[in-house]
């Protein structure tokens, strides 16, 4: 797939996820290559390790306030730390898993790893450049970061 088509797969996944799960549309901004520095992280980050024909990372990073409102929209009453971690990992897992429809069966994904805090180092593969897809939902801002060789 061409670079643009690959990014479109993830954008479509984001739009479908929000429309289906929290039933309020999200918007994706213009994706950009993070050339000079490591992409900025938010409060909670779900990380999927991709292996197989493609290798690298897919990350979904979002502020605590956004994840809390998403949980409310899902009728969840417990907005505690464990459920926030659970949600951010589940979003990363769903967006990565959905991408297999286009990337194919050999796009193998791990169970989610979750980190909290904006300063945690992310083990980006050295030979790749992260593509950042800005996500707007209500007044909140999150990012999907795709870093595949």
């Amino acid at each position: 797939m061409a670079h643009e088509a690959e990014v479109s797969v993830f954008i479509d996944g984001v739009l479908n996820y929000f429309a289906t799960t929290v039933q309020q549309a999200a918007e994706c901004g213009t994706p950009f290559l993070s050339l000079t520095k490591v992409p900025e992280m938010s409060d909670y980050t779900g990380i999927i390790t991709v292996t197989g024909r493609r290798a690298g990372l897919v990350l979904f990073t979002a502020p605590k306030s956004m994840l809390s409102v998403m949980l409310m929209r899902m009728q969840e009453t417990d907005m505690g730390h464990e459920n926030l971690c659970d949600l951010v990992g589940e979003v990363a897992n769903t967006l990565s898993g959905n991408a297999r429809r286009d990337f194919g069966h050999q796009f193998s994904i791990s169970v989610p790893q979750v980190i909290t805090g904006r300063e945690e180092p992310i083990p980006y593969p050295s030979n790749t450049r992260p593509i950042v897809i800005p996500i707007g939902w209500r007044n909140y801002h999150a990012r999907l970061i795709v870093c595949l060789n």
Binding site: L71, N93, T94, G97, A99, R100, I109, V111
Partner: protein
């Protein structure tokens, strides 16, 4: 091990639902979304190992099964549950959206496949199909 809610099988409806997913949010969501009166939620497991242990005690007739889980993944768990109980009906609910994955789950004994993300209506439709299949 997660708590079981209905150890006395005598109280239960004709169909007993066990939910298997490593996400607490998804487990609770499936439990809440179930609007089918004839389907009684009996328990939830976080992975395949827990699901097999829970199956021995609760004898669910219908199972929703995630695929990507720690300890034991969903495909292996489907295979083992069907080997124990050929009449069990398993709805795989997974983000893995490619056809090969869906076919692999079906070939190992799953009865249906629902892709994440899903709406409550899609879930109830899929579970309703399994119930009608069980009763036909």
């Amino acid at each position: 091990m997660l708590p079981e809610i209905a150890p006395n099988l005598g109280f239960l409806g004709p169909h007993r639902l066990m939910v298997v997913d490593d996400s607490n949010i998804i487990r609770r969501r499936i439990e809440r979304a179930n609007e089918l009166g004839e389907l009684e939620f009996v328990g939830a497991a976080r992975n395949g190992v827990e699901a097999l242990a829970m199956h021995e005690r609760l004898h669910p007739t219908i199972v929703t099964m995630d695929l990507t889980m720690p300890e034991m993944d969903g495909v292996e768990c489907v295979r083992k549950l069907v080997a124990r109980d050929p009449n069990i009906l398993i709805l795989v609910i997974s983000a893995l959206a490619d056809k090969v994955t869906a076919m692999e789950a079906i070939e190992n004994g799953a009865s249906g496949f629902l892709c994440k993300p899903f709406t409550d209506r899609q879930l109830n439709d899929a579970l309703g199909k399994l119930i009608r299949r069980a009763e036909s």
